[in-house]
């Protein structure tokens, strides 16, 4: 029983990190219609930003984490300026945008590789090494910190989107981009906000993941693909769907590791995703709310 709970908590920890990227992918798709596959690059970019800040500015872990978020914002805005703004009014925008973000991640990955080399880097532990024991289960400060900070980030973003003027603009863009542009909501300006927010989420996930695993120029690819899968299962464009999908996939990871072995995690995960998508072609959010038409 204990190890199942341990695995579930592990799963939730991983899911909360990937969930951040999934929500970022979801928001970008639904607000801008951009399939951003450069989150892998933004992830590494933010990680290296945090690493540079730790080396050259100030080593305090919380400061490093915030610098990661800031670098993520910079990366997101950069992608917006390079890809979204020039391409968003061209024909076949979706496929053009996707290929553009892939080109950015190709170029960016190579530039990171040139500057930092292939050697893996590690960020400091942000949340110390404390441990708490609840009902025979040992929780490390690391895991609690990851879960809490991701939930906090998600809450802030959702709250901001629900209550602020900018959030209203973004939600209007999600519902109907044409009508939004007619009532005077600028596509480009909103694009910059959206990419900054989603970049911040990616930056946080980069900082959180790089302290437990490691950081390399291409370490963002796996989290991005996982995030995209979660967003897909949750239904592109739905935050709630992405959160539910992240939790389901987290549980799936824990249970598969326990009963089948770690090698089969991706297989059960994709079997699950394919089953959900065959039943509901628009993902879980097909039940919850209307997703953006492709």
């Amino acid at each position: 029983m204990n190890d199942i709970i341990f695995l579930v908590i592990n799963g939730i920890t991983v899911a909360s990190i990937y969930g951040l990227i999934a929500v970022a992918v979801s928001i970008t798709w639904s607000a801008l219609g951009l399939l951003n596959l450069s989150y892998g690059f933004i992830f590494s970019f933010a990680g290296y930003g945090a690493w540079l800040a730790e080396r050259h500015i100030y080593g305090e872990p919380i400061f490093v984490m915030f610098m990661g978020i800031a670098a993520g914002i910079v990366g997101g805005v950069m992608v917006c300026l390079i890809v979204f703004i020039p391409v968003h009014d061209k024909p076949n925008f979706t496929i053009r945008g996707m290929i553009g973000t892939l080109a950015v991640s190709l170029i960016g990955g190579q530039i990171l590789l040139q500057n930092f080399g292939p050697k893996a880097k590690l960020l400091p532990e942000f949340f110390g090494y404390g441990k708490i024991k609840i009902l025979d289960v040992t929780l490390t400060a690391d895991k609690i910190g990851i879960i809490c900070s991701s939930i906090l980030m998600l809450t802030i973003v959702v709250k901001w989107m629900k209550s602020s003027r900018r959030g209203l603009e973004i939600r209007a863009m999600m519902m109907n981009p044409h009508a939004a542009s007619i009532v005077g909501i600028g596509v480009r300006k909103t694009g910059i906000y959206v990419m900054a927010v989603t970049g911040a989420m990616t930056g946080l996930s980069a900082a959180l993941l790089s302290q437990t695993y490691y950081l390399s120029p291409f370490s963002g690819l796996t989290p991005m693909i996982k995030g995209v899968s979660i967003a897909l299962m949750g239904g592109l464009g739905s935050v709630r769907g992405a959160v539910i999908a992240a939790i389901i996939l987290g549980f799936n990871e824990a249970l598969t590791t326990k009963f089948l072995g770690g090698r089969y995690v991706l297989m059960t995960q994709f079997a699950l995703i394919i089953i959900v998508l065959i039943i509901r072609p628009r993902g879980i959010a097909g039940i919850l709310d209307k997703a953006r038409e492709a």
């Binding site: 496929i95 170029i107 967003a231 072609p281």
Partner: protein, 552 residues
Amino acid sequence: MSDIKTKKRKTWKNPLAVWGAKGGNHEVPTPEWKNPHQIWRDTKAFKVPTTKIGRFHYEYKSSNHGEKIWNRLRWWPTRRTILLTQGVYNRKSLKPEKIRKDKRPIFWFLSLLALAIMPFILPEGYKNSLLTAGGIFGIYASINLCWTLVIGTAGIFSLATYAIVGMSAFLTTWLSINLGLPWWMLPMIGMFVGLAFGVIIALPALRLDGFYYGLLTLGLNELCRVFITTSHAFGAASGGLYGADTFINDNWAPMTQTIVQYYSGFALLIAALFLFRFVDGKRLGRILKLAPEKKEAFAEASGVNYKRARVTVFLISSIALGFIGGFYAAYYRGSAFDIFSFHTVIMGLAMITIGGIGRADGAVAGTLIIVVLDRVLVELGPYRYIIIGLIMMFTILFLKNGLFGVRKQFRDWRDKKKGEARSSRLERGGEMLPEQATETDNKDEIYRRRYDKMQREFLKTLICDEIIEEHKQKPLGQHSEALERVCYYFRRGAMNDKYVVKCEEPFKKYKIMALSGVRGRSPRLVEDKIYDTVEAAYHGLFLRRIQDLMEA
């Protein structure tokens, strides 16, 4: 000819007076008038800048021979012509000429010929590396052609192409190592592997649309990568699985091995081109061209089972990809894990986007560019990926559909510019525009319109209150020269919409009508006003004509 533009003569000479017409005076007092020759001189005068008219000869037209309009060569035993030729007559010289409507077969033939003789013309120093890259080019171009079938023809945005090739390569290598299969069996078995994977991957394609499917297949690619790299059977540690049987004999000279590799890749490319031609250009492709994205409902209503066609194309290309996978295993004696990586997917997408998605020539040319950058210019190091990324960015930012869409994009741009230039030099007044003039066969019409315009411009200068008053006084009979010229013009006008006076009741009611100009179609009434006398009706009609003249 005098240079004075306006002569201040106060009298007109009556040309009819010499015949002693009744009531014909020699001279009549007249208002100021303009010399009618002046406008002709102005029109003829040299004005800078002159604009060139007509169209360029965009198409090369070859002359004909003999009495036949053209000679048709056909692919025996079909009725299909080798080159699509159109016979035309030169508009100027009326000589028969022929235009090649579709020059692509010529370019394909020349490029493939160049590839075929490549081993004999390459300089010795670069021969080995270039031929190796050429073999890789053949394989990748075939993969991308199959991918183009999936993305372009079938419209299924699948990113799992390299996953099918990789799985087929790994499974056939494994079978070859463990069962000792000969090399020629590998592509055959690969076809079954490809079919099996195609069926599995095609299942969600029936339900999902567009980018949902693309993202799912991206995940499937990752799944295959993780499965292969972590499994014990496929050699988790060595970076790939090697040891399959191959058609390349180690005892041959190194150059012979390279040349055999090159020509086998070339043969695979030719086979893939034939597959593309027979899927995209035949029934399946035509069905699917009726059902582009977002117009499926129309296709369905027309009785086209587009879903079935899509899945068929998907499965055919999956089988082909499986074949290529088996070939790949026999070519390299195995496969590396690299084939499943995200990097490979990006490179593949770069290959098909740079050339233009959905076109065979685009897929092959894009592959050529990327392979040259990736495999030949190795000394550039990581910069070559940055260059590839920049080319991708350039393509999506500035080109409509890749390199092979440039022709259409350029023509659209040129036509837009031409239209702008034409509208900037447009003169109103009914004269033909230069482009219109060169395409009108009846050249008399050009001069008639030009003369008509000049004349109307001249007549406008004559219209003044004096001649209107003069006409009011005496609608018929001899007038001053100014009024007479105006009346001649009006009387000579075309029959359609020509004004006439209709007598409703003699000496009491007159109305103005307009003729239809078409036999059997009755005139129309232009106004309800009733004139008491025929003279008043004549004058009303005259005023209408003057109004039309001044407004035109």
